[in-house]
Amino acid sequence: MARIWKLLKSAPPTALFGLIVIVAYILIAIFGPILTPYGESEIVGTQFIPRGEQGFILGTDNLGRDMLTRLIYGARNTIGIAFVTTCLAFLIGGVLGLMATTLGGWVDQLLGRLVDVLMAIPILIFALLILTITGTSVPVLILVIAVLDSTRVFRLARAVSMNIVVLDFVEAARLRGEGTSWIITREILPNALPPLVAEFGLRFCFVFLFISALSFLGLGIQPPTADWGSMVRDNATLITYGEITPLMPAAAIALLTVGVNFVVDWFLHKTSGIRDDK
């Protein structure tokens, strides 16, 4: 505990800001149902009530639902799904990437070429294609994005562990007769972790934006579930009237992305051992 406190005290203001933002989002996501005055898809008034009128702090949307409530529920759905997806992407990409370097030879070749093929297709188009075929449900959404994103994780995990797998302690473990799973989980993974954790933060943002983009296009999280991407689309007509309400979800996305990146930068800086020189 004391160590964590010391670490926080040494953090630059940007990182602290990022941490506060992330913690706030998590709290809002967890306590969403308590914080919100209405139900997630409850129609509470006429459509497009302006901000601050009739007790609606952010007004109502195109179906007369409370914007603030939708925004808070949106945090739950979007962040939750993005988090699960990123975890899955790291599980797939990380394990395969480390396996590719540890086993080498044809395993490495096969996995590498497979990833090349997947990466050759633009990710958004590929996702749209598959989601159109399979139909959109949350599990499919998570799986598709996780697989597509795991290609990037694979590349990073492979690149990082390439430098570790040649070190003497890995050779010593091989010569001891250790199996592949020991070498991956005990020898390589702990040393590859810092860059992977940093990448986790970045990937989380990308996945998050990607889900919002898909939702905006109508193939992401389906109504009436609240989601920041589709909220922007649903209320897009208001923008033409000079109303900024539809941009609130977009701002929520932007703020979280900035916060996560601040923290990731700090983490990378700490683990890479870069010093500030004059």
Partner: protein, 558 residues
């Protein structure tokens, strides 16, 4: 250079009460505690000490510079009447490269691989407007010739990777001489080189420094090398001056204990182990030929026998194939021909097909203890893993054995068992590597340059430890090294390798007493001795033998 003794001539550089701090974990710690250095024109001063003594930091401070993460906090640095601590960046820029030059330890890392040697040579004089580009090139060829680089007219038009390490180091010295500076700082210029190459570089540096009457600061951890180069020696330890004096006087009559220790460092000799009586040697490498990727042959028809309880040293310079031999024995590189026999039984060529017991019997200790230990595992787990993996020890029994092993390598179990490798010094890490190898209860331990990354005094402690363990446990060593001093200290038998072949082998006594095989002779005679006249005598002797028409080996690629 030795003739002017450093007593005459005007003072060129004077550092008084120099204090330098280094940063670690957001804290500034003083690493040089008020050291005085006085250097006269044409004088060569040797800074000697172990790593962490502050010798490089002081050397660089003579240019008014501190490495990133360091800062000069006290004292004065006066170069030829100018105080470098208050000098402006512009003044310093004019000075560096033109009047003070620096030669780094690793020339390979200090050259830009994307530019030709002569382009990098010309950069400084042209920048400082001392010479035009054409003059600089002409001058470069002249210096290359004086530094006895082969083909001086054309070698400058090669890229750094196209010349050898020793040649690169000489090209770097030429580069430092480009503006005919008053002072050159040599920072361990020969440490990374083989002994036979080291001689060439030392002789070349000595010649040019003498010829142009350049003052020099020569930084090294090797007292025998500094004996050849310096007029005056300063012994440093932990950022303090231990002893300073005329080179000859100090070597003949050291005053401080620490200096005496450094002088005595190569005197350790083990007693010869009893010969192996059994008919079958513990390890036999039989007519092994091996290559990387089937193209470049690195081992050719190599046969080595290692008797039980004995220490066999495989000695050779870089590229001799000695480390490849270790890879063949451990099964990392299956040989294309020949076999490895352990206790009379042929081992499968690849480690992947060897049984757990076969793997257990031959353990390995690596050159770099930093990379040989997983930085994320605690000492308990590092030593404990072979115990549970090979011997099935668990829980309290395992803990007990780990503690026994730590005691065996003279490290306090309570203090060290919960530490991570990053919290240990280099020598302590190497001890942990030894404990890890011992944990498997092996019969053979392959030591691959285990002392070359360590300071001399620490290295000697490690050798003594290994010897004690052999006496107590009867373990057999195959010792791979390029360092003749280590060979003399620890071996019972010697195998000399050159370009993938065994050129000489036999009991230590036979190999070390003349007559030698020509290459063994070159190798042995190239090891620097404490005698300040050693280099001059050796070069004179080689020249005389050449003049008599004898064939003299002067480098490994002849």
């Amino acid at each position: 250079m030795t003739n002017n003794g450093g007593n005459s001539g005007e003072v060129l550089l004077e550092m008084r009460g120099l204090r330098i701090e280094g940063q670690s974990e957001d804290q500034w710690n003083e690493i040089v505690h008020g050291v005085d250095v006085t250097l006269r024109r044409g004088e060569v001063i040797g800074l000697i000490g172990e790593s962490g003594a502050g010798k490089s930091t002081i050397g660089i401070a003579s240019m008014g510079f501190a490495r990133p993460g360091c800062r000069i906090t006290g004292g004065s640095i006066v170069f030829d009447g100018m105080d470098l601590r208050v000098a402006s960046d512009e003044q310093l820029r004019k000075l560096r490269g033109s009047r003070i030059a620096y030669v780094a330890q690793s020339a390979a890392a200090a050259f830009n691989p994307a530019h030709k040697l002569i382009d990098q040579y010309s950069e400084t004089p042209v920048q400082h407007r001392v010479k035009s580009r054409a003059e600089a090139e002409k001058d470069a060829m002249e210096l290359y010739r004086r530094l006895r680089l082969p083909d001086p007219e054309n070698i400058g038009f090669r890229y750094p990777h196209q010349v050898s390490g020793g040649q690169l180091q000489r090209a770097m010295t030429a580069m430092a001489m480009a503006c005919r500076p008053d002072l050159i700082v040599f920072d361990e210029p020969t440490t990374a080189l083989d002994v036979t190459t080291q001689i060439e570089v030392l002789a070349a540096i000595k010649d040019v420094v003498e010829e142009f009457d350049t003052a020099a600061i020569y930084i090294t951890h090797d007292l025998a090398v500094v004996a050849q180069m310096a007029d005056r020696i300063m012994v440093l330890r932990y950022g303090d001056l231990v002893e300073e004096g005329n080179a000859r006087d100090m070597l003949a009559n050291p005053k401080e204990d620490y200096t005496r220790q450094l002088l005595a460092v190569r005197s350790y000799k083990k007693e010869e182990a009893p010969p192996d009586e059994s008919p079958v040697p513990l390890l036999e490498v039989r007519n092994v030929t091996a290559s990387y990727g089937g193209r470049v042959t690195v081992l050719e028809d190599v046969s080595v026998k290692v008797g039980r309880g004995r220490t066999v040293a495989v000695v050779g310079e870089s590229g001799s194939g000695k480390s490849t031999l270790a890879r063949v024995i451990t099964g990392l590189l299956p040989p294309s021909e020949g076999a490895v026999l352990f206790d009379g039984e042929e081992l499968p060529a690849s480690y992947k097909r060897r049984s757990r017991d076969q793997l257990r019997h031959a353990q390995m200790i690596y050159q770099m203890p930093d990379t040989a230990l997983n930085p994320r595992q605690k000492i308990r787990d590092i030593i404990g893993r072979p115990l549970s993996f090979y011997l099935g020890l668990k829980g309290a029994a395992r803990e007990k054995r780990v503690r026994e092993l730590l005691a065996m390598i003279e490290m306090d179990p309570d203090e060290f068992i919960d530490r991570l490798p990053g919290e240990l010094s280099g020598g302590q890490k190497q001890r942990i590597c030894i404990a890890r190898a011992l944990a498997a209860e092996p019969e053979l331990i392959i030591c691959d340059e285990v002392t070359s990354a360590l300071d001399q005094l620490v290295a000697e402690e490690i050798l003594k430890l290994l010897q004690r363990l052999q006496d107590e446990l009867g373990v057999t060593y195959l010792f791979i090294t390029h360092d003749i001093a280590t060979v003399k200290a620890i071996s019972d038998e010697i195998v000399v390798m050159l370009q993938g072949r065994v050129v000489d082998h036999g009991p230590k006594h036979d190999i070390l007493t003349p007559p030698h095989d020509p290459y063994t002779d070159l190798l042995l005679s190239s090891v620097p001795e404490m005698d300040p006249d050693w280099l001059d005598d050796l070069l004179a002797d080689r020249a005389a033998r050449k003049a008599r028409g004898e064939k003299v080996f002067e480098s490994a690629d002849q």
